[in-house]
Amino acid sequence: MQVADTKKLLSGNEAVAQGAYEAGCLVGVGYPGTPSTETMESFAKYDGVYAEWAPNEKVAMEVAGGASMAGARCLVACKHVGVNVMADPLYTLAYTGVNGGLVLLAADDPGMFSSQNEQDTRFHALGARIPLLEPSNPAEARDFAKLAFDLSEEFDIPVIVRSTVRMSHTKTMVEIGERVEHDLKPYTKDPSKWVMMPAFAKKRRKVADQRVRDLMDWGSKSDIVRAEYRDKKIGIICAGVVYEHVREAMPDASVLKLGITYPLPKAAIASFADEVEELYVVEEASNYLSSQVAALGFTLNQTPNAIPPDDEISPEIIRHAFGADKPDFETFDGALPPRPPSLCAGCPHRLVFSELNRMGAIVTGDIGCYTLGALAPLSALDSCVCMGASLSMAHGVELARKFGSGVDEKFAKKPVVGVIGDSTFAHSGITSLLGTVYNHGDGILCILDNRTTAMTGQQGNPVNGITLQHRPSHELDIVKLCEAMDVEDVQRVDSQDLKAVREAFKHAREFDGLSVIVFCSPCQLLIRKKESPYVVSEDCRKCRSCINIGCPAMGADEEGRALINPTQCIGCGQCAQICPFDCIKSTAEG
């Protein structure tokens, strides 16, 4: 008898990887992004599979499209905004369909714990006509991932498994099984299926529409759509982790649990609606389900208290929506200091931002650890929109100032600086830079090369030349790339050397034309080296220059003199370089 070993405590992401492994998935491609990252990281660890990081999600989906065409089962994983980046191949792969099963794990972030927006991947499924499954917990994540591969091949279509942060990052015990190997499915050349030029695409469009109707029927018969009848006064339609909240909050209510939310299983919804007196949809941070159920012609009841349209929901929010009082709670009666995340002690991004702040530059930022340069005391960023936007937005600011009338004089004089990380540059900064060069753009573009994709957990990328398996590969030489693009002014600078940082900015400001600075120094989390801590001498003049670089090891004593916490200090010496009076020394210097 098998017992203990067939069950493991797995997160939703790990469970999707496990399901893909069991389904005989051969190729995995992803780009990191919270809350999806561990999916590809754990898939890569199984024997008999091949996995890699792509430079971005569009590339990931295209690699998977090719592997699928050649007959392999493929898994792609990314966060919700990554689906925007891959939308182009995704929408057309819905026309071509697949050969080997192709499954996309897309992880949404209701509550925006680590994202720039709260978009709902189900609208992409609707737009692209791609079926979308929603597991409610890790055990289902494993089952649905397996099912998704079969469904993909049966219906000749990529399948999305949608997760949310509370599915991806919830751990439960998961039953695991053996891998079933799949030979490559035979490939036969078929331009009418794979060459999407108008004549063929027009036909495939009709195939896509028929497939949606077939999938609607499939859903209504499938056991991933489950009507749970209890008290029939209240009937709730829900999916994903919201189902778990609903069961907790409303244990007596009848529930229609939708394991597939695109296309909606109309017949199953109709029979559920017939059985219950009042029909509700409960969902979080979106109106996808309620609008689509309503679009099918069902009339929904409204809960006595509204469910907030944004943010993640919880059992208490649901109970309250159906009329219950919220539980009583205690709140501290004093003021609490906020505790935002901050750049680590020794972070190589810090001195660049302290300089940008000093320069009073207009800084178009990007996404990564360096987005934290927006927070006090560095307060150096003007914008952060999406990966790659820093460089192109800097170009846009320059254009507006150059060609616009009535430009404020102070605004016109500020240097414009785009700031982007190494992984983000490889992801989508290269084409932005190309656009600026091509169009004779101006300004200063900084590439913060800390030798890793730090924010999402120090993954390899094409700039540091480390693979998903942590093996060495080709390193992109950014300076050479800039030269090849005909950027006239490129500097490579050690970002831990304040003098060099200052000089590089001075030079770039004086240069007439586009200037690129590659700031290079490894992330502290990568090297994890702790040198002797620094100390502040008696001569401290309380000027706060060192405190204003926002190091978590740096504070002030009661009299306002700078004070270094020796357990937090890693001995990088940034503060010593900043101090105008030479009052900070390493304890190693005695």
Partner: protein, 207 residues
């Protein structure tokens, strides 16, 4: 049609027996996730259903963090709400004040590492630490232990989280042996002894 479950016809009761909700909070980097993982495994090894919910990403860079562990004979939601936590284990004292609203006012218990860590806004002079953290927590029935000092005493300063799990274990119905087994499997091999020692020191601290 799709699967149907009919609780009415079988007469089965749908009401879940109440799950226990533990909130672990602190400062990014303090080891809340490892502690939560151990607690979840102990509960699972004791035959319970478990849900563990953690937040990755941004907040880990020294920000305020919260991890939720729920266990019982039947558990559904991985999250909790204000006024609903049966236990709060705070790895840092001011964070206990921040997450206090989660505590169930009827019987919830608060276990706190008395150490206070200043966040960046305090260090740069943009905000102040509350002056009465410990007194306030004591007045509200919190159990305070200096788990950082205890961890240093047993020779493993990083084991603050395990000291707190030891203290928590006094108050939960799981076998001491199960805790020891799970900890031994989960921590780096070289640190098993000092972590087990930290666990017992934590247990003794709340006698």
């Amino acid at each position: 049609m799709a699967t149907e479950i009919n609780a009415q016809s079988t007469g089965a009761t749908a009401v879940a027996s109440k799950a226990v909700t533990v909130v672990l909070c602190g400062v990014g980097g303090q080891g809340t996730i490892l502690a939560a993982d151990i607690l979840a495994k102990v509960a699972a090894a004791s035959g319970m259903q478990v849900r563990l919910s953690e937040i990755h990403g941004m907040s880990q860079r020294g920000g305020s963090v919260i991890t939720i562990v729920r266990f019982g004979t039947e558990v559904h939601s991985p999250v909790t709400d204000l006024g609903c936590a049966d236990r709060i284990v705070s790895f840092e004292a001011t964070e206990a004040l921040r997450y206090l609203p989660y505590l169930n006012k009827n019987g919830g218990k608060l276990l706190v590492n008395s150490e206070e860590i200043k966040p960046l806004p305090v260090l740069i002079g943009f905000a102040e630490m509350p002056s009465n953290t410990v007194e306030y927590l004591q007045k509200h029935g919190a159990t305070l232990i200096d788990s950082s000092a205890i961890a240093r005493e047993v020779g493993n300063p990083k084991a603050t989280n395990i000291v707190l799990m030891g203290a928590l274990s006094k108050d939960l119905d799981f076998d001491e042996k199960t805790w020891e087994d799970v900890i031994a499997k989960r921590v780096p091999p070289k640190t098993v002894d000092s972590n087990i020692a930290a666990f017992h020191a934590g247990r003794d601290a709340v006698k």
